[in-house]
Amino acid sequence: MSAWIERVDGLGRFLTSNIEYTLRIFLMVYLSLRATILDKAQGFRTIVGVIAAQVYFTGWQALPIISALALATGSVLVLQGLGNLTLLGGSEMIGSLLLVTLSREAGPLLVALVVVARSGTAVASEVGNMRANREIEALESMGINPLSFIVFPRILGGVISVLCLAFYFNLIGILGGFFLTKPLHDMPFSFFMDSLSKAFTMDDVFIFLLKNSFSGMIIFVVCCYQGLSVKKSPHEVPQVTTQAVVNSIIYVTVFNLTVTAFFYMSKLKSMGVL
């Protein structure tokens, strides 16, 4: 009996700590937005400068790895899709397959993983070191709110970067994938584009914006939060950085899965299945 109670208690503690963490993350989004709106001192130039730097490091510098990933994923999907769809006599479905797998599912996840690995770690360790080196305290002592000076520009810069990278990933993945594998198939480009344009709906735009903007926000909020959670010593920085990566990936994956599940269910509902 006591073992059973211990298990329930453990589950309860696990749930409450995760709910508390999630609420704290939401609270930080609100507080950083509030601080930015209320911060009359922070000039437009200051905030744009930090956002531009974030977009440069997170977006621009990630283009080579995103290009490689997009080309590889796009090529594999085009080849596998064409191989299997041709066998079934449905090669005109290639556009639909690419949009669903690449743009809606693989794109947001792969881009998020690259951003977590490159920039999430950088932000968590940078903010963590600032905390350990008392730079955050120093900003406060000068009347500079770290939430508007450090956190908000990184979140906004991160969201812009992830959206741009995801768009670039889709473009390179679909078109690059097609042209890279051209010697291995005989599908005309006009047929490919026709298939894509027929499959494209506003749902794709909605899902693209929803998944990628929230993924960007989740990654940078979680990483800033973990960085700010450093209490005293630089030895905490690697620990919070690892935790930032783990938590970002979990949150992004769960969010993407939830959006897909809701979308799939609403599709079934509209078809009268549910």
């Binding site: 209320l38 001192a41 200051t46 730079e135 120093a138 406060e140 002592s141």
Partner: protein, 242 residues
């Protein structure tokens, strides 16, 4: 922000103020205290009794768990960051170690509070910082980042940044550590000059360095077992430079 619109700090008072770091004995236990004004106040205590925490509470960097902290008869404890900002801009705080922004040069670190809050025109802000840098002969380090300069320069930069906005109240945490004798004297002279000009009216210094403190005519307050006590006699100025 218009400097003239900022409130001048005329009185500082604790009422039943309690502060404790998590898991430690309280630094301040229901402390009632009226701080001496318009003077140099030496904050003394046994090692580890919480002088730094006391200064951080006074600077609004640590939030007390109970009681009230009055600046000009306004309780600042429940104030938000934005509500406290006008007072904060009249308070300078310097750290015993660390505190410089690592991705900015020494010059940019010192000028940051002036530029961020538009306390002076950009030209005036540059002029003031250049003057300070020349006065302490930091010219060759001004474009370097904190990691590339000697500890003495880092310490001086932190001290100068704390007073660059000419605050009413200046809180110095172990200011003399890492400074040579001549720099200590020059810094003490600067503080005296600013005080005579009507800035840095209330100076609170936490230090174990009696030689440095004797450069000023000071009063002493003791922090002991969570309470503050004023030392009755005023120490006469022992050393006056020049």
């Amino acid at each position: 922000m218009d400097v003239k619109s900022l409130p001048s700090i005329e009185s500082i008072r604790f009422e039943g103020l309690t502060f404790a770091h998590e898991g430690y004995d309280p630094t301040l236990r229901a402390c009632d205290f009226e701080f001496p004004m318009n003077s140099v106040v030496w904050v003394k205590s046994e090692e580890g009794a919480g002088k730094t925490s006391l200064l951080q509470v006074m600077a609004g960097l640590l939030i007390p768990q109970g009681g009230s902290y009055f600046l000009n008869d306004h309780d600042v404890v429940p104030m938000s960051f934005e509500e406290f900002l006008p007072y904060r801009l009249k308070i300078g705080f310097t750290f015993d170690y660390g505190g410089l922004i690592n991705n900015r040069s020494i010059f940019d670190n010192i000028i940051l509070p002036l530029n961020y809050h538009d306390l002076l025109s950009p030209a005036d802000a540059q002029h003031r910082v250049k003057e300070m840098i020349e006065r302490f002969d930091l010219g060759k380090y001004q474009k370097e980042r904190p990691a590339h300069v000697p500890g003495r320069v880092r310490k001086l930069a932190v001290l100068l940044r704390g007073l660059i906005a000419y605050p009413d109240m200046l809180l110095l945490d172990d200011p003399s550590i890492g400074l040579g004798d001549s720099t200590q004297m020059a810094f003490a002279e600067l503080l005296k000059e600013l005080h005579q000009q009507g800035h840095v009216k209330h100076l609170f210094v936490s230090s174990h360095d009696e030689r440095f403190m004797n450069l000023f005519s000071h009063q002493i307050i003791h922090l002991s077992e969570g309470l503050l006590y004023k030392q009755a006699n005023v120490t006469e100025r022992i050393v006056v430079n020049g």
